[in-house]
Amino acid sequence: MARQLIIGAGLLAALIIFPLLSPWSTVILTVALCEGLAALGILVLLRAGQVSFGHGLYFAFSAYVVAFMAAARFGHEVLILVPVATAASGLLAALVGLFVVRYRAIFFGMLNLAISMVFFSLLEKLFSITGGADGKRVPRPTLAGISLERAEFELWIFYITLGLAVLAALGVARYLLSPGGKALEAIKSNETRLEYLGVSSRKVLFGAYVLSGLLAGLGGAVIALVSGHVTPELAYWVRSGEFVFIAILGGVGGVVGPFLGALMFQIIRGYAAVYAPETWHAVLGVMLLVIIFFAPNGLYGLMTGRKPAGTGQ
């Protein structure tokens, strides 16, 4: 716990200072935080032994909600857009969750993938509504009623996102230590006993699923704001796969993991853009295999020296 706080505080300090020293990094770091938030949602599900290859759905849904509201000049204000879009994602997750929490492992992962692919296809095909593959532009909204210049806007959004990410991480950490969080882990270790405690594993997983949808939705809302543009690609399986990659890369041992993973992911992406622009997902695939086989607790695990789970003899 103490170590988690130290790593987290170190990361936070670095993130607070960095954009001041090098303004070019603001947007990249914001993107990393957004993906970290989505990966945090994946971490919550991984604690229950479940993986979703479809959380791009919530990321994209929230981003499109922002885009539609912004286009309609309806609540064209960050402080309205972000909460509304996040809540909308949470609602969608609740709806989808009613169905997918009945399933585990393979079915859970693949049903999430299938649903996100349907959404992706609809975004592409319903051209007249969604703008098809070209997506939609998101005009820059006001922030607390003030219209800001681009650079200022980006800096503010970064710090707001950082604050939200810290709150989300602390909240998730707290939840994971609570009885409900332990019940969530119990789905992974022994669902039979959980049922014989009189606890509904579906309800437990449902709560976690909605939480993961909210986290991905928060990330998606901010992405729409900083990139000023949304495309169906946000819902594509590649995106969902990246969230899983980030969660595994960072490690699921602590809530700092996904954010470490997201920063590392941006660094890898930067190098890949130069050295392997055509094959960068293959690079991710190879790294994923390396992590799974050689560092199953991810970066966070490497930093805290945690032994792989299940070998604690």
């Binding site: 997902h281 293959a282 991710l284």
Partner: protein
């Protein structure tokens, strides 16, 4: 709605259902024997399609007769199954049998990411279109509507042969029986002297080859672009899940059901054609969570 359109939709559905059956049955067979859901299965389909299309283009480029494409499809499918499938099984899957399902999903997902990019490197991102084999077979008139023999006769025939062939192989041959034995009880089968490692490898190769064969057959009917593999993995999963994972005959029924549903949608509500297979799957799973053809499992505690 005009009746000839309905007929056209039904014939389309037959061709389409036959194609996804080939891919889904491979996925289902692999799951039934190895217990692994192979997310990279769609890649085998895509690679099979690309190899076939590249081969056909080369054949016709050399002025060779287009019928040579048909034996080549089979050769291409087996090659993809043995080389790509064999490598994936021996190098990776072998290390994760019996591990958590989530870990297995992650590993095959990683393979999927790698293979998707590998296709782009080898075959480029330009569309491939190699319809010479389809044109060579000509068309057939059914109730006043012209239809390609390739889609109406060849693809469903191949699917039927695969279905019957797999059934006979699993029930009548010694190796087929060994596969079934390993599926039912690996420990007992091993004790009886069955080499489970070999059974796993060969099953995986067969499954991968079937996906590649589906891809090869599809290559003549459509233009190939990057990303076809990802669409196919979710579609073939929908078929396999609707049938019940591991059910071979069930996969044929589910593939037809989904194929027909989708073609009807293509004619009447084209924006929503992608939705139909999943709506069918969701509807089935809501009523029968283990799929249409799965029997109840036994106790664990």
């Amino acid at each position: 709605m005009p009746p000839e359109m309905l007929l056209l939709a039904a014939l389309d559905g037959l061709a389409y259902g036959s194609l996804i059956f080939l891919v889904a049955v491979g996925l289902s067979l692999i799951f039934g024997v190895l217990g692994v859901l192979n997310v990279a299965h769609g890649s085998f389909y895509a690679i099979g399609a690309y190899v076939a299309a590249a081969g056909v283009l080369a054949l016709t480029g050399m002025g060779l007769p287009p019928w040579l494409a048909f034996p080549f499809f089979i050769v291409a499918a087996v090659l993809v199954g043995v080389i790509v499938g064999g490598l994936v099984e021996t190098l990776l899957l072998r290390r994760i049998y019996g591990k958590e399902e989530v870990l297995q999903l992650l590993v095959t997902f990683a393979v999927f990411m790698i293979l998707e990019d590998a296709q782009k490197v080898v075959f480029g991102v330009q569309p491939y279109f190699a319809n010479a084999p389809m044109n060579w077979l000509g068309t057939i008139e059914v109730f006043g509507i012209f239809y390609t023999q390739y889609q109406l006769i060849l693809i469903p025939t191949v699917a039927l042969l695969v279905l019957v062939g797999l059934r006979l192989f699993l029930r009548r041959t010694a190796f087929g029986r060994a596969i079934v034995a390993v599926t039912q009880d690996r420990d007992a089968a091993t004790a009886m002297g069955i080499d489970a490692t070999r059974v796993y490898l060969i099953t995986f190769i067969i499954g991968a080859s079937l996906a590649a064969l589906g891809g090869a057959l599809s290559s003549a009917t459509t233009s190939l672009t990057p990303g076809i593999g990802s669409g196919m993995i979710v579609l073939s999963f929908a078929v396999a899940a609707t049938a019940g994972l591991g059910r071979i005959e069930g996969a044929a029924v589910a593939a037809l059901l989904i194929g027909l549903g989708r073609s009807v949608a293509v004619y009447f509500a084209p924006e929503f054609d992608v939705l139909i297979p999943y709506l069918i799957m969701v509807a089935v799973l809501l009523i029968k969570p283990e799929g249409l053809f799965t029997t109840v499992q036994t106790r664990k505690v």
